[in-house]
């Protein structure tokens, strides 16, 4: 029983990270109808910044918040510089830019910080007398951090005027500009937020799987699976999808298919979901009146 609970809890802990990354993907998808393939690599780069700060002796939580801030500004700048020129261009142009960003960020991570695998420290104690056997301090801590992030994001979108404006701009950009919203800046803010959320996900997963330039490669796949499972246009669906993917992956890995095939769970989910249930668990069917 304990080992089963162990799998479930570590699944939830990983799932919370997939949920965060899935949410970042959905946020950009909602406003632009594009999937940002570079989301994971941007998060990796941010995680390297956090690692550098910590190595230089900056206290963990200070480094954490500095990294989130840098990631936010970075996301904003990337949108202004690289995405804005192709805002009105066909989908394929956007995809090419995203793939370009993926390669650039991946190469920059290796170039600036080195290709060697680095240990990333967790701010949480590994074991504690207060904790049951089946959950580690880092798992509980990262679960807490990502849930806190999700809560902050929820409150931001639900209760602040800027959050409302971002939602309005995503839904109906023409009307949004007619009530005085600077739509293009709202897209940039969305990118900043997505990038910041990605950075948190990166910093939470790095202590588990070690830090190297390909840190988020697999994680991004799980994030895709999470976002698609929940319905790519539904933020809360993506979050729930993340937890489902995390738990499913762990349990199947432990009892059915073995750990080597874990990543294929994400791929199977993506393909299965797209063929059997195109709108996801919580997605909206778009019906157009003609």
């Amino acid at each position: 029983m304990d080992s089963f609970l162990l799998q479930v809890f570590s699944g939830l802990a990983n799932g919370s990270i997939y949920a965060a990354l899935g949410l970042a993907l959905v946020m950009i998808y909602q406003s632009t109808h594009h999937i940002n393939f570079a989301q994971g690599e941007m998060a990796t780069f941010a995680t390297f910044i956090a690692w550098t700060l910590i190595e230089r002796g900056v206290p963990y939580w200070l480094a954490f918040f500095i990294t989130v801030a840098i990631a936010f500004v970075g996301g904003l700048v990337v949108q202004r510089v690289f995405i804005r020129p192709v805002e009105r261009a066909p989908v394929l142009n956007n995809v090419i830019v995203f793939v370009g960003l993926l390669v650039i960020f991946n190469a920059m991570s290796g170039w600036v910080f080195g290709q060697t695998v680095k240990a990333f420290k967790s701010p949480f104690p590994t074991t504690s007398v207060f904790l049951p056997q089946y959950i580690s301090g880092h798992q509980l801590g990262s679960l807490g951090v990502t849930l806190a992030v999700l809560l902050v994001v929820f409150l931001f979108f639900k209760y602040t005027p800027i959050g409302l404006a971002i939602r309005a701009a995503a839904q109906n950009p023409d009307s949004a500009s007619l009530v005085g919203i600077r739509v293009s800046w709202m897209l940039a803010l969305g990118w900043g937020l997505a990038s910041a959320i990605g950075a948190v996900a990166g910093m939470m997963i790095a202590p588990v799987i070690f830090l190297d330039p390909n840190l988020m490669g697999g994680i991004l796949l799980y994030g895709f699976a999470a976002a698609l499972l929940g319905g790519i246009d539904n933020p809360w669906g993506a979050v729930i999808g993340g937890f489902i993917v995390g738990v499913l992956e762990n349990i199947l890995g432990a009892y059915v298919i073995g750990t080597e095939l874990k990543l294929s769970v994400a791929l199977v989910l993506i393909v299965g979901k797209l063929t059997l249930m195109p709108h996801g668990l919580f997605g909206r069917k778009v019906v157009t009146r003609v």
């Binding site: 023409d174 009307s175 919203i181």
Partner: protein
């Protein structure tokens, strides 16, 4: 000073020209209507004022030339636009739609009061304040669109076919409310309508558009009694 003065206004969609040198002006406090058949350029005229299409020529709002301004800046100058198709944020609640209307305002208390005033004017919106706007009926959505525009406390309200797709009784109700808004709140209006009879009842001045040009203008009274307008647009 005129509220709005438009001279030699041209507009394009891509390479297709839709307006060919429009001249007209609006008086403060009045209701002006732009009439014309489908494709005459009525909607484009409103879009050109808000700079959501590519334009050339002069648009002077309250003495300031707004050519090339970003749309949000024109909104900040007090121009509210109820666009073609109402522009409702269908996935957001009624209350959120109203809040968005006041997005550029910083006087929080007054905004809260204005929301209450809108609810008093349209009790049906109050009943549905927490409902997704897309689930409202056509008439309710039009009321919401007008309320959202009024939340800006506009000096100029641009209305694009408020009667579109609505039952005659609802249209009557909405036009009554617009008259009331004009008189009580002192909001100037530029109304684009296919329903010329209704528009001429409400407006005090009218322009007639044909293929992107003003072909006739005058007081609503004059236009109503013009023989060709009667034949073509009023049907008697």
């Amino acid at each position: 000073m005129k509220l709005l003065e438009v001279q030699d206004l041209q507009a394009w969609y891509g390479t297709t020209q839709a307006l060919f040198g429009l001249n007209f002006s609006l008086e403060k406090g009045g209701i002006t209507t732009i009439l014309g058949a489908n494709g005459a350029g009525k909607t484009t005229t409103l879009r050109a004022i808000c700079q959501t299409v590519k334009t050339q020529g002069s648009v002077v709002l309250l003495g300031q030339s707004v050519g090339g301004f970003a749309t949000d800046k024109i909104v900040r100058m007090g121009v509210a636009h109820v666009p073609d198709g109402r522009g409702t944020f269908t996935g957001l609640t009624v209350l959120e739609n109203l809040r968005l209307g006041a997005y550029t305002r910083r006087d929080k208390d007054a905004v809260a009061q204005d929301i209450e005033r809108m609810f008093a004017r349209f009790p049906r919106l109050k009943e549905r304040y927490n409902q997704q706007a897309g689930t409202l009926s056509g008439g309710e959505q039009q009321m919401l669109a007008i309320s959202r525009a009024l939340m800006l406390r506009p000096t100029l309200l641009l209305l694009d076919e408020p009667s579109f797709g609505l039952a005659p009784l609802i249209v009557q109700e909405i036009f009554e409310i617009m008259r009331n808004i004009n008189q009580v709140d002192q909001v100037s209006m530029l109304l684009v309508e296919q329903n010329a009879t209704l528009a001429l009842e409400l407006a005090d001045y009218a322009y007639l558009l044909e293929t992107g040009k003003v072909v006739l203008s005058g007081t609503a009274q004059e236009i109503r009694s013009d023989a060709s307008v009667r034949r073509t647009y009023l049907g008697y």
